[in-house]
Structures are given as C-alpha cells and as structure tokens.
Symmetry: C2
Subunit: 356 residues, 2 copies
DNA sequence: TTTAGCACTCCAGCCGGTAGAGTGCCAAGT
DNA sequence: ACTTGGCACTCTACCGGCTGGAGTGCTAAA
C-alpha cells in the first residue's frame, strides 16, 4: 500500500514533518510550497497533501488548519526520509567524560540515564540488566545481624552487588557463617546464577555427611537469597521534569499518565525488552506499541552490552514531535560508550575476547 | 501581636479553614455564618472577617470573593485550633502490615515512603540516614574485579550495605584481599565510621613492620572507600504523580518547580534536616521556610530513630490546602512503626500513650 | 498536470451584556 | 457597645455574536 512514494511527495512529507517538529504548528500549503524549494504553487501542494492524507500519513486537526503528521507519517519519516545529524567530536568528548570507564556499574548506568536526559532535554531511560541468568557469581558473603537475621551479599562477575536479609531459625556464630561462605564460594563461584540455582537443588540431597551441616546452611541461605525475584530497580528514569517544559505535553492529564507509566514501569520495561533483541537504535512511535500512556510520545532506544553480549537497553522518551535527527545519534553513541565502559577500562573500542 | 483571639473568632477561623480545605473555594460570610453554628448573621461575620484580614490570617482573592486563609492563618490553625482525627486501629494494622520488622532496611524505608504517599494521596518523603558518623562498622570485604579494580563492600551495624569500586596500581590475589579484610575487620569492627576514619590516619604511620604490607593495602582501600562522600540517595520521594491530581497544583509551572525540587533534593533535605532536631511531628507551611518551589505547599514531617537515637526523618509534601487532621497522625504513626521496625523485630514498641 | 480563483469553514480573539456571589458601609435595633 | 438588615457596589464567570485570518476543496482554465 504505502509502497514507494513519488520523490516529490517524499520531499514534501519530509519538509512538512521537519517544519512541524520545528515549531509545532500545523503546516499550510502556502508555507510548505515556499519551504520545500520545489517551485510549486500552493494549489499543487494541496493536491499532494490530499494524497498523503488518503495514505494516512498526515492529517488535519480541523477543516481549516494545515496538516500534521500522523504516527504512520512519523514512521515513514524516521525509517526512510530522515538523515541523522553527524555528532560532533565535541559532543562525543562530553559524553565520554561523563561515562568514565572506572566507576561502579550502578553509578555508570545512573550517569548514562542522567546524561541522556540532559543532552536531549527529555527523559532518559536505562534498563538495568536483571541479575538473573546471565551474570556469573563471583562471591557470596554472609553477615550476621541481630535477631537471627542474616545479610546475604552477592557479587556477580561484572561487579554488581546485591544484598538481601533473610531470617533463620537459630543464631549462627561468625565462624560458622564464614565457613559456610567459603564452602559456597569454592563450590559455585564462576557459575552463572541460573546454573547455581539448578545445582543447589541437586546438592541439597547428595550432601556428604561431614560437610552436611555447613553446606546445608550455606545452600539454604543462598537459595532463599536467589529465589526471591529481584525485579526491583530494573528501570531507571531521569529528568522526567524536562517533559514538563514541552508544549505538546502541557496538559496535566497527559503528564499524569506518563508519570504513572514511569512509576509502574511495567509497560516501559516491556517496550525496552523488545529493543534488546534487535541491534542498533530502535524507535517506537506514539500508540504504535499499544500503550495508552505513551500516546503522543516516542521512545528511542539502543541496546548496550558487556563483553559483546547484550545485557540491557537505554534510551529516551519524549513527545512524538522530537528532534529525531539529533536524538538518534546521541542515543546510539551513548549506548556504545556505555558498553565500552562496562566491558572494562582497557577495551575501549576493540571487541575483547573473554574467558571466565 | 496575634496574642489570643476571641473564642468566637477562633471558631470562625477554624470553620473557615476547614471549609476551605474541604472544597477549595473562597468562603463567603453567608456560608460561614450557617456552617459555624454560632447563630450569627452574615453581617457580623463580615465584620469579624475584616478583623481577621487586618491580622493577616485570611485574605480575599478579589473584591467580591469569599475569604481564603493565608500561610499565617494556616499556621495558627495547625498550632492551636486543629484537633487531629484519631487513627483507627484498622489503619494502624494496614501500616504495620506494610512495614514488617524483618526486612532489608533499604526496602523498609522505600516502603515507608511509598506507604505515606498511598495513604495520604500525596508525595511521600524519607530522608535516609547518611551513613556518616553514627553507624558502626560491622564488616568490610574486598572483592577483586577485572582490570585492577577492587570492590569494597561495607556493612554497618544496622544492616545497611554500601559498596564502591576503587582502582589500585597492581593486581591483588584473592588471598591477599582476604587477609587484608580479616586484618581490617579485627582491628576496626564495631567502631563508628567517624572513629574508623580517624584511626586509619594514625595507624597508617605507626604500622608494625610484618603486617605492614597487608595493613597498608587494607587501610588505603578503606580510606578511599570511606572518604568519598556518599550523599547520594539521601532522599527518597514516592508518589510524586499524586500531586498531579490536586487542583491547587494543576498549573504546569508550579509542578515543574516542585519536581525540580525533588530532583535537586537540596532544599528538601535542608528542610527535613531541621525536623530531625525537634521530636514529634513538625509542619512547614508554604513560603514560611523560604523556598520558592514550595510556595503553596506544606511539608509534614516526623523524625524516626534506631534504638532510641534519631537517624532520619520522613513525611509527606502536598498542597497547603491538605487534610492536616488526617495527615498528621498518619505521619506520626508511620514514624513510630518505622522506628520500631528498624530497631529490631523484638521490641515492637509498647503502645505510646502520650498525647500532644 | 499544474495553476489561479473563489466560496467555504473553522478557530481565536474581542466585545458587551448578564447573573451570581459577596463585600463594605450605614443606620436602626437591642 | 454589639449586632443586624438593607443597599449600593464590584468583580468574576459565562454566554452569544461578531470579525479577521488562515487554510482548505473544488472547479475551470492554461
């Protein structure tokens, strides 16, 4: 249906959307005729607009206003018409400066999110890799607290720290806890968390008698710590308040919907999850994805990776009417630099081969 | 100057504010005369309103509207006229259910904040105790990462976990790290962080020769981890989007100011800090505190404590026109229950029989 | 196929009029 | 000395009508 448009029609659609992105007003035939540089009369432009409207790429807010791009119009625009602005080395330097390689991964992600929101003047998103499955266990520690509570500290290979408090039925001495941790680390360090969990179940039964007690302790503790889901904090959002400066979203009800989406996180996570599979920058426009709260909004995302394997995605969310040609390269480069930083300070550009 | 008001005047001021809080409309003399139950004619009420206006306790949006309380009016109201609604045991149960004693402290605080925002339908605030000074060190751990980075895990007596990645000049083996941690824990566990930092400086010079190497390592690592400020995350805010449903704040610019305040956190922290000193519930009304962003807002706070010593404050922020008689007891009880939960599962507090 | 012309539509802003709510003041009543 | 009814006045919010501007759709001519 929307096979290939006439080049002239394409140019008109492109300039219409550029113009609309620039000042947010419906674009009339006269303005468009002048702007496009095609030496056409307004009347001709009107005819073409009529065609575009039939195709569902533009629409008119009311009988006598100019045209405005529809979601599908934006889709064609970003897919085939848009030419991204090359990023200046200056900007790259700024981003790189903010995302230093030698930081706590948690801070690194937070910084990336904040950076995105600042540079794009929109809300920044970072989906944090859920520690499940992929990450390998590096070390486990047990720390006794008061009142039969034990703090379990779990460090994964990439330097992320998770901790959880569990309850036990009796008091344990510090040396017992240390032995348990030692046993556990000897047995399981280096394995993936999923693997650890699987083996735990097996070993719980086939325990050799002398280690029984300690091993039992360790495994039961670790199992408690591992099984409870840690979906918490999977999504970071920064610079939400930037969205309040945007005329398109001035309506409090729209804002409310958006902010609720930030808080519940579910829909956004689902969206970001989709973008993990495909490599490179991905763009979700308006109601395309089917989320009510994201009507009139677009999400630009890119996956990032550790040591070559994709572990999460980042991006920005803003009004459908955003400066894609600037936002897209920024999201792209941020994802690349973040991947580099997460993969260790040495391997800044060259893809490294890992062992572990 | 505003020494003691006539009782009749007090009643009128009280009902005026109650009425205004209830429906947000300026209150006229006729309505007030009927509502107050004093058997006065509107004309008399008008005279008294005139007096109150002179005292700066009420004001009129324009010549022919009813009266509206000023910040000073609210101040008198909450200080001397307000009678708080007693909390039902049902509510207490709900709050207690949400704030279970045996949880990770971090979750506990987050839950409290979320709870406050839900119950009051406003934004919930929790100031997290900065780990500085007060908390005692329980355990320190070093975990080697790739690329000469070391993860320092620091557990304080109350079960909070802090971690930071530091860079070192050479690679360390796992056993070296373990020795260093052991040495460190033997020497310093149980001391307050401030104390630890002080002793570190001394010990760094007077090192005995055989332990020199290891101790040197441990102290240098710990010092790096301890000195960098961890002001991060001192304030948690929940349910911000509740504020978008409030008619008083429907204006996007006001919202923008507020949300910026949430993000920068500085002013709010300063405010909450003030409330740490005084015991019990404290109320900041509108521009009283001098923060531009908080105009038309009130903050209701209460300090919470661990084992009897105050470590932080929590509360809610909302429009000046809020249901104080409900919010105040909720903030109060939440602070108490949180304190109980933080102080360990055993001492669930004997019912406070104090009335203020 | 493009263009000029024309009638038409719709929005945004402005004006004037009106109803409603509430005040301030004054003079009379208790 | 208070309290009250009465009265004139003021301000807002709302409605309807009017107007100018912008832009379209259609038609007929180039």
């Amino acid at each position: 249906m929307s096979s290939t448009l006439n080049t002239r029609t394409e140019i008109l659609l492109k300039t219409l959307i550029e113009r609309y992105i620039a000042d947010g007003q419906p674009v009339g035939s006269r303005t468009l005729a002048r702007q496009a540089g095609l030496d056409l009369s307004p009347a001709t432009v009107r005819n073409i607009m009529s065609d575009l409207e039939e195709l569902g790429l533009v629409t008119s807010p009311h009988t006598s206003a100019g045209r405005v791009p529809t979601d599908r119009g934006y889709r064609v625009f970003v897919d085939t018409l848009l030419q991204v602005r090359p990023i200046t080395t200056n900007e790259v330097r700024k981003i790189r400066h903010e995302i230093e390689a030698d930081q706590d991964p948690q801070h690194l992600l937070a910084n990336a999110s904040h950076l995105l929101s600042e540079v794009c003047r929109l809300a920044g998103l970072v989906m944090v890799p859920r520690r499940e499955e992929q990450a390998a266990l590096r070390q486990l520690d047990f720390v006794g607290l008061t009142g039969r509570r034990i703090l379990v500290i779990l460090v994964t290979q990439d330097g992320q720290v998770h901790n959880r408090i569990i309850n036990v039925e009796r008091d344990y001495s510090a040396s017992e806890l240390e032995q348990a941790a030692n046993y556990f680390n000897d047995a399981y360090a280096g394995l993936g968390l999923a693997e650890v969990r699987r083996q735990l179940l097996r070993d719980l039964e086939a325990a050799s008698s002398d280690l029984q007690r300690i091993m039992d302790l360790a495994t039961r503790m670790a199992r408690q710590a591992l099984t409870e889901e840690d979906k918490h904090d999977e999504l970071m959002v920064s610079g939400e308040s930037n969205l309040m400066d945007i005329p398109d979203l001035m309506d409090v009800r729209k804002l409310r919907l958006l902010f609720d989406a930030f808080n519940t996180k579910r829909d956004l996570l689902h969206l970001l999850d989709q973008s993990m599979r495909a490599g490179g920058v991905k763009i979700f426009i308006g109601a395309e994805a089917g989320y009510e709260a994201l009507r009139e909004c677009s999400v630009v995302t890119a996956p990032y990776s550790i040591e070559g394997t994709v572990v999460g995605t980042l991006g920005v969310i803003g009004p459908t009417r955003m400066a894609y040609e600037q936002v897209i390269p920024i999201v792209d480069i941020t994802a690349r630099l973040l991947s580099a930083a997460l993969s260790g300070p040495d391997r800044l550009e060259s893809p490294g081969r890992d062992s572990h």
